[in-house]
C-alpha cells in the first residue's frame, strides 16, 4: 500500500525536521512533530505551520465563469470582489455535500479553488461533467506546495519571511513577487494565511517559516484546532447524504441568488426546518476522549445518533464532539450521554464554537 501513497513536496523537509509521517487521505503526511497538545498550544498562543500540499487547487476562467460557478456552488460567487474569497459547498442533486471548499476571485473571470485532498478527483470530475465549452477548468494540484501558517504571530512571521510583501486582508488572496499565492484564511480560528509556492520550492519555504519561529505542526492538532472552532471535516461532519442546512452552515448558502445544483432540497429544508441538525456536544465532566462514531444516547439510554467527530479539547481540557441529532434534541443545554466502549459520559448540547480565539489583528 505504501507505494501507492502520494508524497508531499515537503516530505524531505518534514523528515529533516523530525515529523512522524502517517497515511492520511492517500497521502503520507505528518501527524505530529513533538506532541499534539504542544503543537495545538503553539498555534493558539504563537504560530504553527502545517503542510497542506495534499489539498487540491483548481483554476476556473473564461467568459461566464462566475455564472457557471454560481450554478455549481451553494454560496454566491457574485459577492466576491477581485482578491476576495468565500467558503462554499459543491452539492449533489439532493443538496448533499460532495465537498466544502474555498473559492477566491483572482480576476474579472478568474477563480482559484482550494478543495479537500481526498476529493480532488471526484470534485474535478463533477465540475468537468457540467463544464460549458467557454469555461477553462484546470487541475493544478500537482504544481503547488501548500503551507498554512496559523496563530497570533503569523502576520509577523510573514513579514519576516517575505520582507516588503503585503499580506492580503482577511479572506483575501494575493500573489507575492516570487510567484507564491497567499490566502488570508485558515482552519484553526486564529489569524493566519495559506501559502502556495511552486512544488519544488516548498521544502525551502517550510524551513524558512520554521527558522522564523513557526512551530512545525502535524494533522493531529489541525483536527483538535478545527474541532474547537466547529469547522466541519468533509467525510466526517459533511457527507453526500447531509446538507449544509442540516450541518448548521446555512450562512454559506445563498437561496436568493438563482438556481444551483441542490437548491430545491435546501429551500425545502430551510422552510420546514431540518429533521436532524449537527450539534456541538461537550462533556459536563472529565471523561474518556470522545471519537467519531461513538453513540450518542438520551439520559434514558435511547440511541439518538453518533458522533461525526470527537476529540479531547486541549483548550477546554474536556471532551468535545459534533453529532447529527433529531431536531428535538438540538436545543442548547439538552443533556445526552456519549458511549465510550460501554461506559457512558454525560454531555450537553452547547453553543458553537467550543472555543473563541483572541480577537484578530
Amino acid at each position: 500500500m505504501s507505494d501507492l501513497l502520494k508524497r508531499s513536496p515537503l516530505e524531505a523537509a518534514h523528515v529533516e525536521l523530525g515529523a512522524k509521517l502517517v497515511p492520511f487521505a492517500g497521502w503520507n503526511m505528518p501527524v505530529q512533530y513533538t506532541a499534539i497538545l504542544d503543537e495545538h498550544s503553539a498555534v493558539r498562543t504563537k504560530a504553527g505551520v502545517f503542510d497542506i500540499s495534499h489539498m487540491g487547487q483548481f483554476l476556473v476562467s473564461g467568459e461566464g465563469a462566475l455564472e457557471w460557478l454560481n450554478k455549481m456552488l451553494a454560496n454566491n460567487v457574485a459577492k466576491l470582489g477581485e482578491g476576495e474569497g468565500q467558503y462554499t459547498f459543491l452539492l449533489n442533486g439532493h443538496g448533499g455535500v460532495i465537498d466544502d471548499l474555498i473559492i477566491y476571485r483572482t480576476g474579472e473571470s478568474d477563480f482559484f479553488l482550494v478543495v479537500n485532498a481526498s476529493m480532488i478527483d471526484e470534485d474535478f470530475a463533477w465540475f468537468a461533467k457540467h463544464q460549458p465549452e467557454s469555461i477553462e477548468l484546470r487541475n493544478e494540484s500537482e504544481l503547488w506546495a501548500g503551507m498554512a501558517i496559523q496563530g497570533p504571530e503569523s502576520a509577523a512571521l510573514f513579514a519576516a519571511v517575505c520582507p516588503g510583501e503585503t499580506l492580503p486582508p482577511r479572506n483575501g488572496i494575493s500573489k507575492t513577487s516570487t510567484g507564491a499565492i497567499v490566502c488570508r484564511t485558515g482552519y484553526t480560528g486564529e489569524d493566519g494565511f495559506e501559502f502556495f509556492s511552486p512544488a519544488e520550492e516548498g521544502g525551502e519555504w517550510l524551513k524558512k517559516f520554521v527558522a522564523a519561529g513557526a512551530k512545525p505542526c502535524g494533522l493531529g492538532c489541525r483536527d483538535s484546532l478545527r474541532l474547537e472552532m466547529c469547522y466541519p471535516l468533509n467525510g466526517n461532519d459533511l457527507a453526500p447524504d447531509r446538507t449544509p442546512i442540516e450541518a448548521g452552515l446555512g450562512f454559506f448558502v445563498d437561496l436568493e441568488k438563482g438556481d444551483f445544483i441542490g437548491r430545491e432540497t435546501l429551500a425545502k429544508q430551510k422552510a420546514e426546518g431540518p429533521a436532524v441538525k449537527l450539534v456541538a456536544l461537550q462533556y459536563t465532566d472529565k471523561g474518556a476522549p470522545p471519537r467519531a462514531h461513538y453513540a450518542v444516547l438520551s439520559p434514558e439510554g435511547e440511541t439518538l445518533g453518533e458522533l461525526s467527530s470527537g476529540v479531547h479539547s486541549p483548550s477546554l481540557g474536556t471532551g468535545i464532539g459534533l453529532a447529527y441529532l433529531p431536531a428535538a434534541w438540538t436545543k442548547i443545554g439538552t443533556e445526552v450521554r456519549i458511549d465510550v466502549r460501554g461506559r457512558q459520559f454525560p454531555a450537553k448540547v452547547v453553543k458553537k464554537p467550543f472555543y473563541k480565539p483572541a480577537p484578530k489583528a
Binding site: 493531529g220 471523561g287 476522549p289 479531547h312 461506559r343
Partner: protein, 125 residues
Amino acid sequence: MNVPADLRFNTSHEWVRLEGDIATVGISDHAQEELTDVVFVELPAVGRAVDAGDPTAVVESVKAASDIYAPIGGEVVEVNPEVEANPALVNTDPYGAGWIFKLRVKNAADVESLLTPEAYVAQIS
C-alpha cells in the same frame, strides 16, 4: 530511552515491579513517548481477577485509545487514583507516580517469563 534495570517488561510495553506477591504495573517510557500526551486513564475495578494478556486498563492520548494488558495473572488490589486525576503523570513519571494498577499475583515465578530490560531494549531499538 529510560529502561530501569530492576523491572520486567511485556512485549506490549507494560512494565512490572514485583515486591513479594504484589506486582505494580505501568507503561514504559518508550510507550508513553509513542502515545504522546495521555489525557485519560481508565482504571480497572479493585478485586477484579485477570489472566496474563487480559486488557485491564485503557490509556488514551489525544489521538488514540490503547489497552493496557495484565502482564501476569492475579487480582487487582490497588489502582492509582493520581493518574485518573492527572493523566499526564503517565508521561512525566512513567515508572514512578505514573504507575497504573497493582496485582496480587497468582504465581510470582510467572514474572520470569517476561522480558528482561536487555531484551526489552532490543525489542524497541
